[in-house]
């Protein structure tokens, strides 16, 4: 584990860059994490996905299925992959402040 500076706020991250305490997440954190995931700028379209994932996580304690993401944001798969080049797990979920998912990720 290491500490990383997110615009004045120091947070613990794992070696893959996922923040450890989702409660500490805010928009600045998301903006900084986005830089690592080939998302130079978070547009409204990005925020729509990020906010949906975050709300889902806060409610259910787990990352949503990409099916759910598509359904709730009205986007198709190709749009999601285009918005987050490193994918829904390492891209969108990480930016939304979720911990690293289990499995082959």
């Amino acid at each position: 584990m290491a500490l990383r500076d997110f615009g004045g706020q120091e947070l613990e991250i794992d070696e893959d860059g996922f923040i450890q305490d989702p409660g500490q997440w805010n928009q600045t954190v998301a903006t900084v994490l986005a830089q690592d995931e080939e998302v130079p700028e978070l547009t409204d379209e990005h925020w729509k996905v990020v906010n949906m994932i975050r709300e889902y996580y806060l409610k259910f304690g787990i990352a949503p299925m990409v099916r759910k993401v598509c359904k709730d944001t009205g986007k198709d798969l190709k749009q999601i992959y285009a918005l987050f080049p490193s994918g829904p797990a390492k891209g969108a979920c990480k930016i939304a402040g979720l911990p690293k998912p289990t499995g082959c990720v």
Binding site: D14, E15, D16, F18, E38, I62, A63, M65, V66, R67, K68, C70, K71, L77, S86, G87, P88, A89, K90, K100, P101, T102, G103, C104, V105
Partner: protein, 553 residues
Amino acid sequence: MVDTIDSRPKGAVGEAAMKVLDSKLTRQMAVNMHACVHCGQCFESCHYYLATRDPKVTPAYKAEQLRKLYKRRHDWLGQLAPGWVHATQPTDEQIAALYEAAFGNCTMCRRCNLSCPMGLDMALMMRTARWMLTSQGLIPPGLKATIDTHLATGNNMGITREEFLETVDWLQEELQKELDDPDFRISVDRPGTEFLICLNPREVKFYPLLFMAQFKTCYAAGLDVGLSSAYWDATNYGLFSGDDAACKQIVTKTIDEAVRLGAKTLILTECGHGYRVYRWEAPGWYGKPMPVNVISYIELAAEQIRRGRIKVDKKRNTERVTYHDPCNQARSGGIIDEPRYILSKVVMDFQDMEPHGENNFCCGGGGGALTMSEFRDRRLAAAKVKADQIVATDAKIVATSCHNCIDQLSEIGKHYKLGVKVMNLCELVANAIVLPPKAVTVAVQEIGERPVAVDADGFIEDTSLWSPEAAVFLARRQGFGDVLERLTPDQWRVVDFTRAYYGRFGVPPMRETVCAELQLSKRQFGTLFPGTLKTLYRTAGLSREVVHKVAAE
């Protein structure tokens, strides 16, 4: 909180871990413990060593961390003169060194096995070491969480049955659109399913395009495939923690489910360790003769292409592709020729990396390394070997067939700035598939026949009453037998063109025009619509007056 040796009471782990080693001492393990001649042949085979030149990551050194413990306990010289043969008590320091070697510095890729003149199995030793540690609670937390989730929920991402079914329904709809076949179904829990597909949870949760690619392949080949909604996960991370009980529990549930559904064959998705587990390791854990065949999606796709059941067009994948052999599938699984055969058929420009096949280097993500964030820096450092291999091919796409490899290769691409795209093999296959016009034929055959009034020459009397159903009637009654008994897709193309042409220009097209526009030879045209041009005009619902006017001109 990470459970480490330092968080335990001093000396609490060693003896218990040694008892686990005792219980795993098969003849094969004993040979591994005794037969190393310290020749150093294994050094250059290990990607950790090649990338770092650190002697502490050589296979011999890593194995020595286990041998030291073995010798002190089981070897007479190790007991009599431990210092002489480097025998060691299971102190906390030595247990920590074993943890470093087994989890932190080895992906159990088995490449060093090939270079060992004594034929020792490094992965067997490291897997045993991992279980000595795991059984005492010393296991990387990400790896533990993945296994725990699998045991608790039936898949390693904790996907519920409802979520699974919802995703399957959604992908069925997407595939109906892509295949242009509203009758396409993904059958779930259907008794008598011949081929049962096991997926990687990540395909269901995050990467459904891969799920779709595999079903598209099976659809193109006309195979009877389906899914279980209960046990469909191809992975088994017990292979990586050394936990045989977990392995057994997982494979037994999946295989029993296949038996319950009456499946003959399990198709393993593109999953390196999953294939190895079900094809080569499961018979040992299942404890009974295997009641199902196990094949990989890659074997299936290669076979179906070879038999001509799937038509592919390599011109759809034009960029240079190289292929990374997943260790568990190639070196430990024997799938080496099949991906190359597939690539020779589905891409224009394939360039193998060197070395490849059974000699290929691990990408660095093997052995569950992707779940161990704490060793990320080492994982990426050791991947320098793989990065160099990729660069040498000058490929734009790195294809592989394992989800751990995929993520590691993507990270390598980013870390070493390779500018390559990483793809699953099934994506390239799906992209190249040319679907047979089966779906269209089915739709056409469903068009029933509707009689309409005709004049003495067989032309429709009221052209406004023409419909596809009327066309079937108008065609059949002309007396050409089988040829016009049912309209084929090719015949419909001609009919549709003729009507569109007439609608636009007010005159029917001549034979030459039809042939030129639809790229038909005169002979082909004659086969589709025998007799004179009138055969076509009658079918297309043109009026006698229009046709005769043309004839008069």
